[in-house]
């Protein structure tokens, strides 16, 4: 299909979102790279095009709309607000040169403090209805349930913080669980450090910006951690059982409520899930058939911290046609002290073409 056809499809989607009550928003394409680097770290350079400007420093071709939309809303928006936008985004494809490095996204975002679960349901139902007839499979998840489970673990605050920091890196998260529970052996260098009478005996001169006090603080923390009892087997199993939940929403809710009996810190998050399911049902979504995967959205959607969803083509290897979720923490970080609960999603009109002829 041609770019003209894609843009026509995008315009139709944007019009549908406008008639759902969204205000149309335009965003810059050339953005400050600093914001993205601060949020996502160096890895973002492998996914986005970074260039330099003699006056502005490092700049980036818009890799998604969420960050500029949040910034615009924080600077000039009134509450509550619903926005829609449409335009190209740019992604480097180092590992997959066959994938598009420029494509159009059409989005719908809701900034509303009133009733977060109702807003979640509103966004999902809108995407689901707008894209009905393309034969897509819907998946939902909730990062908030996993973070609540981690926050409720019976272990030190330091260990909980380390796990929280790596929620979005499943492999690293796994490695930390193994180490805290004693399943992975202590590395020899760590054992030597802990056994040393004077850990600084062969340290040589202090150099660099990381100060002696900072190094001593971490050595002390490592010693304290070594005295800490390992994370119990039952606690690890609780986290694992949460991650394994993959069911329809109705059954997933039942399973999660069972797990919450042993991990009460998770209860509030599970009840939010229950309210969301009710709100979805009220909008005509059949939650008895809607899939829920506790693990969904942990890798590719780093800024989502609550409800997440994807509308996927049944064709293997095809990127998600639409994705979305809640990103309250992102508004907190970009808002410099201010925050507003936010949820939204995007759809790629270019991916709809093959599917339309099929149906």
């Amino acid at each position: 299909m041609s770019l003209t056809e894609i843009n026509a499809k995008a315009a139709a989607l944007k019009a549908a979102f406008q008639s759902a009550g969204a205000e149309a928003l335009e965003c810059d394409i050339l953005l400050s790279a600093e914001t993205f680097l601060d949020l996502y770290g160096e890895d973002v350079r492998t996914r986005a095009y970074v260039s330099s400007d003699p006056a502005r420093g490092e700049v980036m071709l818009r890799p998604d709309f969420t960050v500029p939309v949040v910034q615009k809303h924080m600077d000039e928006g009134a509450e509550p607000a619903r926005y829609t936008y449409s335009g190209p985004v740019f992604r480097r494809q180092e590992e997959h040169p066959e994938r598009a490095s420029e494509y159009v996204q059409v989005g719908y975002e809701v900034f509303d403090r009133e009733d977060p679960e109702a807003a979640d349901a509103e966004v999902f139902a809108l995407f689901s209805e707008t894209l009905a007839g393309y034969g897509l499979r819907a998946v939902t998840g909730d990062i908030g349930i996993l973070t609540a489970a981690v926050q409720g673990l019976e272990t030190s605050e330091r260990r909980r913080a380390a796990l929280m920091r790596h929620i979005w890196r499943p492999r690293r998260f796994r490695a930390l669980l193994d180490r805290f529970s004693g399943r992975a052996p202590v590395p020899p260098s760590r054992a030597a450090l802990l056994a040393a009478k004077d850990p600084f005996a062969e340290a040589g001169p202090f150099n660099g910006m990381r100060s002696e006090a900072e190094i001593r603080a971490r050595v002390d923390a490592l010693k304290a951690d070594a005295k800490e009892a390992p994370l119990s087997k039952s606690q690890v199993e609780l986290i694992e059982s949460v991650l394994k939940v993959s069911e329809t929403c109705t059954f997933a809710l039942e399973q999660l409520r069972d797990i919450a009996v042993d991990l009460p810190a998770m209860s509030d998050a599970v009840e939010r899930f229950a309210r969301r399911s009710e709100a979805l049902a009220a909008r005509g979504v059949d939650v008895d058939k809607l899939d829920f995967e506790a693990n969904y959205g942990r890798t590719s959607m780093e800024y989502y911290d609550g409800f997440v969803f994807g509308l996927l083509s049944t064709q293997p290897g095809m990127p998600a046609v639409a994705t979305g979720g809640r990103y309250d923490a992102l508004t907190r970080r970009l808002g410099r002290g201010r925050e507003i609960p936010a949820v939204g999603g995007v759809v790629r009109p270019d991916l709809l073409f093959g599917l339309e002829t099929r149906s």
Binding site: G41, E42, D43, G204, N207, G208, E212, E214
Partner: protein
């Protein structure tokens, strides 16, 4: 037409490459004055010598402007995206050994693994308000390595030379650089992490997968490969 063989234009890498070819019956030498970048290949028909900076050889191979080239694995993997689709390694030449490693100040007694580096980076960012800086010129390789190692909260700062000095000069907290003996690192009070290096590199003969072979080129390449035994 002829086959073009790219060889580093200077120093020990050039001399050792000439020796390696010489030992296999292919005489490769510079011609003219010391300052003239021209050379000759004897012992096999239809092969032309191109003297280039080792850093430019990956690009020339991937553009198909040279058919064969000698350079380090590190340069190939850093400079070429999907390098294995553009060039094929034919032989490791047994010299120019160097590892691309991550080094931190020796006084960081608490940091020996990638796991430690990640934890230290998180604390550093909290304390100083910016991401821990790692000085390197191998951005792609190091970023990929740290991503796989699950290290976050760091930033790469570009350093094209004297990288080991950046820590003392307070322009970086750690370095990622090529080392062969580790002496420069020790002299600058740095230690290598107890991990597999980012990359083990050595001088390697590569074949371009994209360079066109015309007329007698194919036979010339076959003859050269037979002589070299690669």
């Amino acid at each position: 037409m002829s086959i073009k063989l790219g060889v580093p234009s200077k120093g020990r890498l050039m001399e050792k490459t000439f020796d390696w070819f010489g030992a296999r019956g292919v005489s490769v030498a510079r011609t003219g004055s010391d300052r003239e970048y021209a050379g000759a290949v004897d012992g096999v028909e239809g092969v032309e010598l191109v003297l280039l900076s080792a850093g430019e050889i990956p690009r020339e191979l991937s553009a198909g402007r040279i058919h064969l080239g000698v350079t380090g694995t590190d340069l190939i993997q850093e400079k070429l995206v999907q390098w294995d689709q553009k060039v094929e390694p034919l032989a490791e030449l047994g010299f120019g050994h160097a590892d691309l490693i991550i080094a931190v100040p020796n006084c960081w007694v608490d940091v020996n693994t990638l796991d430690d580096l990640d934890a230290a980076a998180a604390a550093f960012r909290e304390q100083h308000g910016f991401r821990m800086r790692i000085a390197t010129k191998y951005h792609r390789l190091v970023r990929h390595y740290l991503h796989r190692g699950g290290v976050a909260d760091y930033q790469l700062v570009d350093s094209q030379g004297a990288t080991e000095g950046t820590v003392k000069n307070l322009t970086a907290e750690a370095v990622a650089d090529i080392t062969s003996s580790g002496e420069t690192l020790r002299a600058n009070h740095l230690k290598i992490l107890d991990e597999e290096p980012v990359l083990r590199s050595q001088a390697t003969l590569f074949r371009s997968r994209v360079a066109q072979l015309e007329g007698k080129d194919r036979a010339a390449l076959e003859a050269l490969r037979d002589l070299l035994g690669v």
